[in-house]
């Protein structure tokens, strides 16, 4: 039977457990099961035959762990194992299809582990190529608990084969995977990347997993898969607690609720599959209903665009000097804090624009997307005009993103839309083209229609299209405001797509901008705007969004509205600086961040920034540092002082940047946790202290290759490098980094720190300084840069 014919059947019977069957044959735990395809092929063939005889129509070849990371110590190559395993399955197939089975690598991906997305992709690509040349009929990717790893495998499958791909992940009873991915986000992401069916395997018993898989039906049009365990294992004996008959009853229930691919995982045997086959014989299949709502998601949060959802606009250098400075200095933490504060203020989605002529936008976009998705759960909107930046961002983004943007220009459409389709993203279309912005609603609508038609022709579903009818400045073109509102209504009603709109432009050049913005936003929402791009930190704008949601019955029973405003009137402003009883020195010393910031703001009106730094901030830090050294102050308190100083510095830098001054730095220092090591809290403590003594810290993060550290040191001419390692196993890579630095940039000084290091060992591996704690790293830096001498 070919794949197409099989997939047209109402139900497709998969196989059951391989591992369970092998354990019954006496295979020891910890054995790399895939090697049995070479050492005991008859066992594997027996198992396949038994499942085929029980009715399985797809046999999962014994390739689950046949990747180079797991096979490393076995002496076998991926190709050997995959081709042997597929041939065995084919020998036993008897008309069934043979699937290349792909399981997890056994390593955690970034940011939880140290395997990069790109490396994982390469690992899977190798397996896929081997599977294709061995003649697999289809690919199954299963038992994934990390959506990022699933994406790497699915991309590898799509890009190195034309075979159908079935994707299943493993969830806990709370509906999340070990890494926190929820069921909807999993289904949305796998659907977006082009899976042919999606579902759940392993995890739980058939009843619990059967209920969880229903959630997938809410967000995907694809057929679903259920391949659960035979219940839960007994902690003592490892025996599973659901028998074949009960298993079949529960599976049949799921089948009658719309699941079409069914089989078993751990604890199941051919007897289970036989029972399932009988149980589904008379069940009427259910077709998945078409889904019309757009869903976007991160790895841990799905956002249905079924009401007004706010897209935060603050990650964007346009008109923001401080943000530009952050991009130029690679202050990723500053960019992340912009993301966090918007999410806290209520942004549902974050727009990410890091385009600046002086920097490599693609590289920065990838860095920022990876960093953002490791700390915020709001889905992202990739905002760029560079095809390369969009492609690379979509590739590494762990979820379903929106691309901002295309327009009516044919060249743009035919360049960007294929990428949108490839990665299953949603897309924003601006209603302008090579001819510029059109004045009338009808002209803009015509462009909108062209964009929608072109997107549809590329196979992008209508629900994934968002049209931006463009906000013009009311002070310049007053009549255009209502034209935009009219266009929004037409696009929503006649094209049935989403409407996105950056609203703040409307008030440019007018007094009382907040009032104009809010009124325009309200009008636009009334006309159908569901994706405003705005500043969520502007409380009045958020007030309008919440009030609209309540009036439009999106916020049923006004629950959210009452929860937000039901208590007393919200506090308007932080306490004014004038009421503070502390001096800036004291505020910093006592670690009072808000107070330090507001005192600094007040001081800046009549005090020179460097005077503030040198006579107030640094003496306070020195005092705290001295007390820390004598054990009278503890590390957390020292960090609090540093953070208060940081808040003060933040205000100073903001002011200096807005006055066009470049900030004064006492010198550049690179900090990095060495290759192979992923501990970084200690390094981050050192960083905050150094920054507050006026040094510019180039933080390369953790698990950093020696070459990257050396290259950065040379390119940015950095005289001091601080390296951190916390494991005996990674001291070696610290030594390699030092050796390479000394060879390529001999004038560069190296200081090292970390729990397993000692003064003697630091010397032995060629470091110039050993820093026993964060405070000492400041002393070393001051010494190197010629202070305090």
């Amino acid at each position: 039977m070919d794949v197409k014919t099989l997939f047209d059947q109402p139900f497709i019977l998969l196989d059951g457990a391989m591992g369970t069957m092998l354990q019954q044959k006496g295979v020891k735990p910890g054995t790399v099961m895939e090697t049995l395809s070479i050492t005991a092929p008859e066992w594997i063939e027996d198992i396949h035959r038994a499942y085929r005889a029980a009715g399985s129509e797809i046999l999962y070849a014994n390739t689950f762990g046949a990747n180079r990371l797991k096979l490393e110590k076995t002496g076998y190559s991926v190709e050997q194992i995959v081709s042997a395993s597929i041939s065995i399955a084919k020998r036993a197939a008897d008309g069934a299809l043979c699937a290349l089975d792909i399981g997890p690598t056994g390593k955690l991906l970034e940011p939880n582990g140290s395997l990069s997305f790109e490396e994982a992709y390469e690992v899977f690509a190798e397996v896929v190529k081997a599977g294709v040349s061995a003649g697999a009929d289809l690919i199954v990717i299963e038992t994934m608990t990390d959506l990022y790893e699933m994406r790497a495998a699915l991309l590898a499958a799509k890009e190195h084969s034309t075979l159908p791909v079935l994707c299943t992940m493993t969830f806990e009873a709370d509906g999340r995977t070990f890494t926190g991915t929820d069921i909807r986000s999993a289904a949305i992401s796998m659907t977006a990347l082009g899976a042919d069916a999606v579902g759940i395997n392993c995890s739980l018993g058939p009843k619990e997993a059967g209920l969880l898989v229903q959630t997938m039906h809410e967000v995907t049009d694809l057929p679903t898969i259920l391949k659960p365990n035979a219940g839960l294992p007994d902690p003592e004996t490892g025996a599973y607690d659901v028998d074949a008959l009960q298993f079949a009853v529960d599976i049949a229930a799921a089948a009658s609720n719309g699941v079409s691919f069914i089989g078993g995982c751990c604890g199941t045997t051919p007897a289970y599959i036989r029972a399932v086959k009988q149980a589904i014989a008379n069940i009427k299949p259910v077709r998945q209903a078409k889904k019309d709502a757009l869903f976007v998601c991160s790895a841990t949060k799905a956002v249905p665009i079924d009401r007004v959802r706010v897209i935060g606009e603050r990650i964007n250098p346009t008109g923001k000097k401080r943000f530009k400075e952050a991009l130029l200095n690679r202050e990723i933490d500053y960019i992340l804090s912009q993301g966090l504060s918007q999410v806290e203020a209520g942004a549902d989605i974050l727009d990410v624009n890091v385009g600046l002529p002086q920097i490599d936008e693609t590289e920065m976009m990838v860095t920022v997307v990876k960093a953002l998705q490791s700390v915020v759960d709001a889905p992202l909107q990739i905002d760029s005009s560079s095809k390369e930046a969009i492609a690379c961002a979509l590739r590494v983004y762990n979820g379903k993103a929106i691309v901002n943007s295309v327009n009516g220009d044919d060249e743009v459409l035919d360049t960007v839309l294929p990428l949108v389709k490839q990665y299953g993203a949603a897309v924003v279309g601006l209603t302008l083209d090579a001819g510029g912005i059109r004045k009338t609603t009808e002209e803009r609508f015509a462009i909108a229609k062209k964009i929608v038609d072109r997107a549809l022709s590329y196979g992008i579903p209508r629900r994934d299209i968002c049209i931006d009818c463009l906000t013009l400045t009311a002070s310049a073109e007053q009549e255009a405001a209502m034209e935009t509102i009219r266009a929004v209504r037409m696009v929503r009603e006649q094209l049935g797509v989403n409407a996105v709109l950056g609203v703040s432009n409307i008030s440019f050049g007018l007094p009382n901008r907040p009032l104009v913005n809010r009124t325009f936003l309200t009008l636009a929402m009334g006309a159908g705007l569901n994706l405003p791009i705005m500043n969520p930190n502007d409380t009045e704008m958020m007030d309008a969004v919440r009030a609209y949601a309540m009036l439009a019955c999106d916020d049923l029973h006004a629950n959210e509205f009452v929860a937000h405003y039901g208590a007393d009137t919200p506090q308007k402003k932080a306490e004014p600086a004038a009421s503070s009883t502390h001096t800036l020195h004291d505020a910093v010393f006592h670690g009072l961040r808000t107070e330090a910031a507001s005192l600094t703001k007040a001081l800046l009106s009549d005090t020179d920034p460097m005077t503030i730094v040198n006579t107030m901030l640094i003496p306070a830090l020195d005092k705290a540092g001295a007390l820390f050294e004598t054990g009278k102050l503890f590390l957390p308190q020292l960090i609090q002082c540093a953070q208060a100083a940081q808040a003060s510095f933040g205000v100073i830098r903001e002011t200096m940047a807005s006055q066009g001054n470049t900030s004064v730095s006492k010198g550049k220092i690179i900090l990095a946790t060495v290759k192979g090591d992923i501990h970084d809290i200690g390094k981050n403590i050192v960083k905050v202290l150094l920054e507050n003594y006026g040094f510019t810290v180039i933080d390369l993060g953790r698990d950093v290759a020696p070459e990257r550290i050396v290259q950065t040191a040379i390119e940015m001419d950095v005289p001091l490098v601080g390296l951190s390692a916390l494991m005996t196993t990674t001291l070696q890579s610290m030594e390699q980094t030092i050796a390479l630095l000394k060879q390529k940039k001999p004038d560069c000084v190296v200081m090292v720190g970390g729990a397993v290091l000692t003064e003697e060992y630091a010397q032995k591996i060629g470091a110039d300084y050993y820093s026993k704690d964060a405070k000492q790293s400041v002393d070393i830096a001051q010494h190197i840069f010629g202070e305090n001498e």
Binding site: K28, P29, G30, T31, P104, G106, K107, L108, P111, N112, G113, S114, L115, T143, T145, T170, T177, F178, T179, G180, C202, D333, L336, S337, L340, S374, V375, V376, G591, G631, F634, L635, P636, Q637, I639, Q640, A642, Q643, G676, D677, I678, H679, I681, N684, I685, V688, M727, T728, T729, T730, S733, A755, V756, T758
Partner: protein, 224 residues
């Protein structure tokens, strides 16, 4: 094992100590207490374990005839033990993510959360030992011994995890440098003996860090 149960058992003094506070400070204690509270809705304690037969061989200890762990110190520890419990546990990736996020907004808070999570994973081990005690009431237990202690190479982590099927069962993996990921995780071996054991408590004697341990220099001890 629920998060609440683990968090109620975290000793405040341990959190303070891991955070580098070697004395009394009200504000720091409040932060430590807050971090315990915060973690109680974040951590997802997961445990996988197996009680195995132990065979002493010239190359090290062999568990259930399948997993060989070298090291004279481990052989000495398990001397007289017919069985041993192999344990792997983790607070899960969400805990790491939570601390990572806290680092961006308040590093001192993140330091307390990190310290608190370190203390929490020890509590998970303690609770496991209590269960072990009730399952084997007549057996004496050795101290918990982890890969990386004494002369037991830390590079056995991957095999150890794979023996317990830990990547699949609890999502716990080891990196190429043998670092456990998620970060707040422990692997350990606990010997079970019908007779008295000589290494029932942890001590500094077998520790690789004893000569330059910061706790020891302050007259303190990293364990309890």
């Amino acid at each position: 094992m629920t998060a609440e149960r683990v968090c109620t058992r975290i000793p405040l003094s341990e959190v303070m100590r891991y955070a580098g506070c070697h004395g009394h400070d009200e504000r720091a204690e409040q932060m430590a207490a807050d971090s315990i509270q915060a973690l109680s809705s974040v951590i997802r304690p997961r445990v996988v374990s197996k009680v195995c037969r132990v065979t002493q061989t010239p190359d090290g200890c062999l568990f259930d005839d399948a997993l060989l762990i070298p090291g004279n110190d481990l052989s000495a520890l398990l001397n007289g033990c017919d069985q041993a419990a192999l344990l792997a546990c983790t607070l899960s990736a969400q805990t790491d993510a939570f601390i990572r996020k806290a680092e961006l907004s308040d590093l001192s808070n993140a330091l307390f959360l990190d310290s608190c999570a370190t203390a929490a994973v020890e509590v998970v081990c303690d609770l496991f030992e209590e269960e072990l005690q009730s399952r084997y009431p007549d057996m004496k237990r050795t101290m918990r011994y982890s890969p990386g202690y004494g002369d037991v190479p830390i590079t056995v982590q991957e095999e150890f995890l794979s023996f317990l099927d830990a990547p699949r069962k609890i999502g716990l993996c080891a990196t190429a440098s043998s670092i456990l990921t998620p970060r707040k995780s422990v692997t350990a071996i606990i010997g079970l003996s019908k007779t008295e054991v000589s290494h029932a408590k942890r001590s500094c004697e077998t520790c690789n860090l004893k000569d330059h341990c910061q706790f020891r220099q302050k007259g303190d001890f990293c364990g309890r």
